[in-house]
Structures are given as C-alpha cells and as structure tokens.
Amino acid sequence: MHLREKFLRAKVAVSGANFAVAETGTLVVVESEGNGRMCLTLPETLISVVGIEKVVPRFADLGPLLTLLPRSSTGERMNPYTSMWTGVTPGDGPQDVHVVLVDNGRTHVLADPVGRQALRCIRCSACLNVCPVYERTGGHAYGSVYPGPIGAILNPQLRGVGSEVDASLPYASSLCGACFEACPVRIDIPEVLVDLRTKVVEAKGASAEGVGMGAMGWLFGSAGRLGLAQRAATLAGRLSRGRMPRNLPGPLSGWTNARDLPAPPPETFRDWWMRTHDADGTRRDGSDR
C-alpha cells in the first residue's frame, strides 16, 4: 500500500522496455504485477531508457517474440500484463514522453561476427534456470545486471575483457550447452564463450602459460624432439630413483597443489614398442596371434 501511494503521487517515472518497434515507434513493457502499468500510466512525465538491441523492425515481429518470452521465462502461457505505447496519447497517460536509446558498448558487440548474436537475447532467463554454474554461484558472481550464461558472454563484450571478472567470465562454464538448448532465440552461448576465451588470451599477450604451451607445441611438432625429451625425462626418473619432486615450484605449484606430479616411467611407450614389436607391428613373442 505504501508503494501504491508513491505510484499515485509520482510526477516522473523512468522505465525500460522489452521491445521497441521501428516501424511504428511503439515501446513494449512485459510484466507481471502491474507496477509497470502504474509507472507507464500515472505520472506526468515518462522517461524510457532502452538499449538499441531492443529495436525490432516491424510491429508483426512482436507476434513470435511475445509468444516466446513468457513461455521461456516463467513457463506461463502469457504474463499478466503487457503495455504498449507510442509517444504521447492526448488525454491518456504521461503527456511528456522521452525515449533514451542506449549504445554503451552494444555497437561494439554488433561489430563482432560471432558475438553479435548475444544481442538477440530477449532476457527470458531460461539459460539461467538450466545453468549448472549459475545454480551454484548465484547472480552476484557475474558482477553485472546480466547474470548467468548470457551475462558470461554479454558482460565481457560490453565492457571488454580488461577487468578480472570480465576476463574470467568466459571460463565460468563447462561448455555443457544446456543454455543453447534452452534459448528461445538460438544464441549459441558456448560458441561465443570459446570465441571470448581466445580474446582473453590474446588480450593478455605473452604469459607463462602461453610460453609453456608454445614450448609444448614445438616439442610435439617433431618426432625426433619428442623422443629426445622423453628419453631425458626417463633418464631423470631413473637417476633420481623415485626421489622425484611431488610438487612443482613457482607459479606451476598451483597445478600440483591438488595433484601429484607423475613420476616419469623407466621406459617410454615408444621404446617399449620398438623393443617388443617387429617392424610390421606384430609382437615378437607372438602373444597377439
């Protein structure tokens, strides 16, 4: 009742919008309780702040969108109230109407061939409800008003991958794909997550991990180099006689905190194969016949 009094006395209201129709200039608010209606109807001045991705070309496009949104959002056939308005209607509702269209990083997203699909989002929250990561972390972990799988691909695109939380969001996923399956507008969230991981790595530039991976790539790139490295490892294993360290030093210790460093075997697989097999691949002792 207290809130109702405030609604009845307010002179200015600020709203968002779920959709904006280019063809007619119509704004649409989809809601449940009626507080949206109060806000859109009773004050003298209405200021609507709308992201540019909410713009759809035609009035007819509302047909499928208004069908999808409540069903994917709360599982209802339809939400209790949907309001549409186009500018000022003399004698009905606010007589002073403003629309603020917001870019704030959205054109940056739009320019990305992979990431731009995130702008299709209709904020139904279906991907949140099925996400095993969101289920355990909750919304605050995403550091933004957009939580869950969609937040994990939208925030790093809108804000860039500079901050710690934005650089970590693309990794906050097992890439299980449940979000993609639930999404009514077919946003391939796992695809965008993987693409963003590339961007995070590129933005970081040279890192210990990058150098390590590069070295591994060089090593695995040639059979001769791999053989040498393996022989060195088994030699080290034999010389240390089981006294190999169980933990790695420095930044690599993170990996061995929860795992044992495996001891190199006394013989590599390739050496074992050469010792026990003929050139045609059959076992010398005939045990595979």
Binding site: E33, G34, S83, M84, T107
Partner: protein, 213 residues
C-alpha cells in the same frame, strides 16, 4: 555530429564489419485465425478471473448480476460504452460516466467499486484480453487504479494465438494507440515461478463473454 548521428554511423559500420544480418520481413504475414471461445473461457478462468458467458441481448442482465453479486456500489463507465449495459443495475448502484475530458483524482478512482469496459481483441490460447483504450474502454488509468475490472468480450473478437492478435491490432489500425494486454488479474511469478495474485493492478477481473447470435 549529434549523438544520434554518431550512434547510427557506428551501427552502420558495425553491420558492415560483421556482415549484414537478415533483411526484409522476418515474420511471414499472418492470416488471422478465429479463436476457440470455449478455450478462451477456460484459459481466462484458469488465471483466476471470473468468466460469465452470455448472449447478445442478455448482456445487461449478466452485468446486473455480477455487480449485485460483488456488492458493487459505484460503477465507472467510460464514454462510448453501450448504454444498454447499465439498464439492469439495482437502484443502489451509482453509475459514474467518465468521458475523455472528465477530471477524476486517483483517490476518487481508487474508491470506485468497479470499472466496466468493452475490449478490442482477445486471445484464445493464452486467455488474454487486449484493450486499445478507445471509446468504451476509457483511458488507461480507469482500468488500472480501481480494484475491480468488469470487461465485456465479444466472441467474434477472439483470435487464436498471440501473433493473430498482433496482426489483428495492425489490421484495426490501432497499433499506435496505448494497448494493454491483460492475462488474468494482477499477479507475480517472480518468486520461485509461482503465480501469486494481487499486487498492483485490479485484484478482481470479471470477463463477460458475449456469444454471437
């Protein structure tokens, strides 16, 4: 360069960089399907609105009974409503005719027993009623502030699904009017996805469905 030009330029550059998306009509034209009126009534009732079915010529009687049953003392009727609708009200009911120019405070509106309106389009599959707030439906506040809304739905205005309703609104040429889509009385589903009634909008919704003769 204005902010608007700057933004439009950025959008064009972005679209060019990423390759244009789909162009032209995204949604094929809809041939409006008539709705199943039984289904409409079932869905409206399922959202805990009261449904009364009646026939052309018997609407006034139905309204009189609803108003009597709810013990409504004052009935607000927007200009343009069928004058016959209020002919069967009991003598204790005062009728408040409101036209576009009538100033009425929110306190007065809040004290009204119910608002009686017609409707523009309804949707069978979702149990939705759409007001375009033209004659007989009144400006938006008249069906928002009072606690009860009695809404008359003509069976011939019931369409099948949401896209049919969108197409019908466009065909009626009312897309740019204020439009209110109502699916049951005020409710919230935000808490654990359970629908809880009565938050801000009217708590009682009575739908009088008038079958064609």
């Amino acid at each position: 360069m204005s902010a608007r030009d700057e933004m439009l330029a950025r959008i064009r550059t972005a679209n060019a960089a990423a390759g244009a998306g789909p162009t032209g009509r995204l949604v094929p034209p809809v041939e409006v399907q008539h709705g199943d009126v039984d289904l409409f009534c079932e869905n409206v009732a399922d959202y805990r609105a009261t449904v009364v079915r009646t026939r052309e010529g018997e609407v006034a009687g139905a309204i009189g009974r609803v108003v009597g049953d709810l013990g409504i003392g004052s009935l607000l009727v927007p200009a343009g409503a069928d004058p016959d609708w209020t002919t069967a009200l009991g003598p204790e009911v005062s009728v408040l005719q409101v036209d576009d120019g009538t100033a009425i405070s929110y306190d007065e509106l809040g004290a009204v027993g119910a608002t009686l309106t017609s409707s523009s389009v309804s949707v069978a599959r979702t149990g939705t009623i759409i007001l375009d707030h033209s004659a007989g439906q009144g400006r938006r506040e008249l069906t928002l502030v009072p606690d009860r809304h009695i809404c008359v739905v003509a069976a011939r205005t019931v369409v099948d699904d949401v896209p049919d309703a969108v197409a019908r609104l466009a065909a009626l040429g009312v897309e740019q009017r204020p439009l209110t889509w109502i699916s049951g009385p005020s409710a919230t589903s935000d808490i654990e996805l359970d629908r809880v009634e009565g938050v801000h909008g009217p708590r009682t919704l009575v739908v009088i469905v008038v079958d064609d003769d």
